[in-house]
């Protein structure tokens, strides 16, 4: 479906803008990115009548046209540049009827940009309940625009809104609010003349925001800067007087259009919940209980679908090997593409569950309370109250958690959160840890109850939290940001979650993950497959010749031969050669080339370590496979010294390596997707690898 009318949704956060977007467009939406920024751009399509469709862009929620964060800048970027692909032909301004005064500030600013605009007056039902009476027709008359009362949650008034969109004119009809020229009389005129700008308020905004406007040329920016200096333009003073003038105008408008019969009863409803949920003691208990529930659910509820997905892929692999003719293409399809695909699909249950919870917490208004409660602690280490959710989610999987860091408005806080989340001990580390712990930590109990292996595992989890906090603190000092941190935040009233919104959020995040991160994961899987299944051809030919000899066939059964051959091929593959080539670098931390191969292959995902160990030590892939890998690893001897390979020192060194190293290409892919640059994943990869190496080096040398 193609849209013939470009519509933008503009409004305050919590005004129900996104709900309206979902109601209007349903599943008919796609997610892109605004140029140059990390914010995702939601575009949807709606059928207005038999002939006309509209393309609707959901612009980020903001309280004013003066942006406080990078994300909010998008609104101005989209609305100031007539040549921008995002420039709308019509704005639907979503206003919260229960808080009209503050909402109209943004309206009056946007209206002055002289783009046709209509108001969707949302939450009329809530306003009614709290004793607010709005004379809609008078309001429309005073502002000169169509005002349509709706309830996005109850899907009321949507047809009337569609009609209003159809009835909208291509010329802006809004009545003037404040005298814009009076704010900076000559300057505005000059900028209009110099840059050929039609509307004075656009010119004023350019005087304020020219530095960040993507569509201005360097020459134009320099010109505005000169004019600003010439006329002694002071951005903040000008903004302050503009804001006051606008509120004067709004007070005039609202004076005889809105009547408030205050009803203290509803006030206390949200307040009463807050008394418990943000209570000194209960507040934290409830919060940790909720986290515990989420954490448990991510593990427990995803277990069944994940094993189904695993089985499905095993079945597909099985079928593939049986049906397809043996050969390179089949191997590529099965061991490369299919393996990569399963690595993507397997995360879907965890992503869906985590995002369902986050969406519920957001929707009900609880998330802003969590931020409120945790802000003081988190601020000390350079994070924000909102960082707590991604960090906790990191115990399950860094991939959905990094995606959930989108909720953090401050760019710096968000970046630090993204950078430290992969340090949290995720579920993929669990198989690696259990294998290594079972190798070197005795399965004994201290004082009869405390299991030594359990202590070791728990210590690794605690270590992950401590390291995330320390790294965050360091990054707080290192990362520079011109944004001044704010915590002026609305605490929305508690409401029931909107279930279709929850489902849509799940759907959107899964889709984004599969398509965006999935591409990278599959590509790297294929590369890894190539590296580990190919080697210099002469070497491979020799191996094949040796294993197909009659002498071999007499000595060993066929499946034993296959295993030995696979093991030797891996050793001589490019991956094996890489393992050997990095051996000098990893010897100081106690690793040999075989572990080197595992480090390389498990770059795809940490749990691949176990599988690679299994292949290298050529173990059967049966059910007791962890057990037998353990035995093989335990009996592995260094060919030169005759001493065991996996000593306590080596095992703990490996654990440290996996605790810190960025051994997860899904995470790298998702960090790239979320930050839209290779810079951040590169920094993250380097710092984590350096930390891993240092930690392993220290631990290895202490225990050696």
């Amino acid at each position: 479906m193609d849209g013939d009318l470009k519509v933008a949704l503009v409004g305050n956060p919590n005004s129900g803008k996104s709900t309206l977007f979902n109601v209007l467009t349903g599943l008919n939406q796609k997610i892109g990115n605004f140029p140059g920024v990390t914010v995702e751009k939601k575009i949807g399509f709606v059928k207005l009548s038999d002939q006309r469709n509209a393309q609707i862009t959901d612009l980020p929620g903001t309280y004013s046209i003066y942006p406080k964060s990078r994300d909010e800048r998008i609104v101005m970027d989209a609305l100031a540049d007539k040549n921008s692909p995002d420039y709308p032909e019509l704005i639907i301004f979503v206003a919260d009827a229960s808080n009209l005064k503050r909402n109209l500030l943004l309206f009056s600013q946007v209206a002055d940009l002289q783009i046709p605009i209509i108001i969707a007056l949302n939450m009329m039902d809530l306003a009614g309940q709290s004793g607010i009476e709005i004379a809609v027709d008078e309001l429309a008359q005073k502002l000169g625009v169509q005002v349509i009362p709706i309830s996005a949650r109850k899907q009321q008034g949507i047809d009337r809104l569609k009609e209003a969109i159809l009835n909208s004119t291509s010329i802006p009809l809004q009545l003037p609010s404040i005298e814009v020229e009076a704010i900076a009389p000559e300057l505005i005129q000059k900028i209009q003349d110099e840059l050929n700008i039609e509307h004075p308020y656009v010119a004023l905004q350019l005087a304020h925001q020219y530095e960040n406007m993507l569509f201005l040329s360097a020459e134009q920016k320099r010109k505005i800067q000169e004019l600003n200096q010439e006329f002694g333009f002071h951005s903040q003073k000008s903004q302050a007087s503009e804001t006051i003038a606008r509120y004067n105008f709004i007070n005039d408008v609202l004076f005889d259009t809105v009547k408030i019969h205050s009803d203290p009863k509803r006030e206390t409803h949200s307040n009463r919940i807050d008394k418990i949920l943000t209570h000194r003691i209960f507040g934290f208990i409830i919060f940790f209980a909720i986290l515990f529930l989420i954490f448990q659910s991510i593990f427990a509820w995803s277990e069944y679908p994940m094993s189904l997905i695993e089985q499905l892929f095993m079945w597909l692999t099985d079928m593939g090997t049986q049906i397809l003719p043996p050969g390179l293409l089949t191997d590529l399809l099965i061991d490369g593409v299919l393996a990569g695909l399963s690595g993507v699909i397997i995360f879907i249950p965890q992503i869906a569950i985590l995002f369902a919870f986050i969406s519920i917490l957001e929707d009900t208004g609880y998330m802003s309370r969590v931020t409120f409660m945790m802000d003081k602690i988190m601020r000390k280490v350079g994070l924000s109250g909102k960082s707590i959710v991604p960090l906790i989610g990191g115990f399950a999987c860094a991939v959905p958690s990094i995606m959930s860091a989108r909720n953090i408005e401050s760019w710096k806080d968000r970046m630090i959160t993204i950078m430290v989340t992969p340090l949290i001990a995720c579920s993929a580390r669990l198989p690696v840890y259990t294998l290594l712990i079972s190798l070197v930590v005795p399965d004994e109990k201290v004082w009869g109850i405390i299991n030594m292996q359990g202590i070791a595992l728990m210590s690794l989890y605690v270590l992950s939290i401590v390291s995330a906090i320390l790294v965050a603190w360091v990054m707080k000092l290192v990362i520079r940001s011109r944004e001044r941190g704010y915590f002026i935040m609305e605490l929305p009233v508690y409401r029931m979650p909107r279930w279709n919104n929850v489902l849509l959020t799940m759907y959107r995040s899964v889709k984004a993950f599969v398509f965006e991160a999935g591409k990278v994961i599959i590509a790297v899987s294929i590369i890894l497959w190539v590296l580990s299944s190919f080697g210099p051809s002469d070497r491979f030919e020799k191996i094949e010749a040796r294993y197909s000899s009659e002498a071999m066939k007499k000595q060993y059964p066929q499946d034993e031969i296959d295993r030995l051959q696979a093991s030797e091929k891996l050793e001589n593959s490019y991956a094996g050669m890489l393992g050997k080539s990095i051996e000098p670098a990893i010897r100081p931390i106690g690793f040999d080339w075989k572990i080197g191969i595992a480090l390389i292959t498990s770059f795809a995902a940490r749990e691949v370590f176990v599988g690679t160990m299994a292949t290298i030590y050529s173990v059967d892939g049966d059910d007791s496979h962890v057990e037998s890998v353990r035995e093989k690893m335990q009996s592995a001897r260094n060919p030169d010294t005759g001493l065991p390979v996996f000593t306590t020192a080596v095992a703990f060194s490996l654990m440290m390596f996996y605790a810190f190293a960025m051994q997860c290409m899904s995470t790298i892919a998702v960090v790239y997707r979320e930050t839209k640059s290779w810079k951040w994943p590169a920094i993250q990869f380097v710092y984590m690898t350096v930390l891993a190496y240092l930690a392993s080096f220290i631990v290895y040398n202490l225990l050696k």
């Binding site: 003066y66 903040q236 003073k237 943000t278 609305e490």
Partner: protein
């Protein structure tokens, strides 16, 4: 239309007036003026205007930030930010 300049206070005024950050939960007051231009702009956008009345609802469990009711909704802000609001 006449543009109103917001007044910025002199040090001598500080003794008489209370900052919002000094208010305790349950206390009510009316905004008089701001001491920080940058912050005042952000606060006014959120509906904290001179002449508007404020109710301090509660403090976060660790004493900071604070939650206030202003122009019909709840707003949370750090004490540092609240200290730029001078109350009548």
């Amino acid at each position: 239309m006449e543009l109103i300049q917001i007044s910025f206070i002199f040090d001598s005024d500080l003794d008489r007036d209370m900052k919002l950050s000094q208010f305790l939960p349950g206390q009510t007051g009316i905004i008089k003026e701001f001491t920080d231009l940058e912050m005042s702009v952000k606060l006014m956008e959120m509906g904290c205007l001179p002449g508007e009345s404020i109710v301090v609802e509660r403090l976060a469990p660790l004493g900071d930030p604070m939650a206030i009711t202003v122009s019909g909704y709840q707003l949370s802000l750090r004490k540092k930010e609240a200290s730029t609001i001078i109350m009548q």
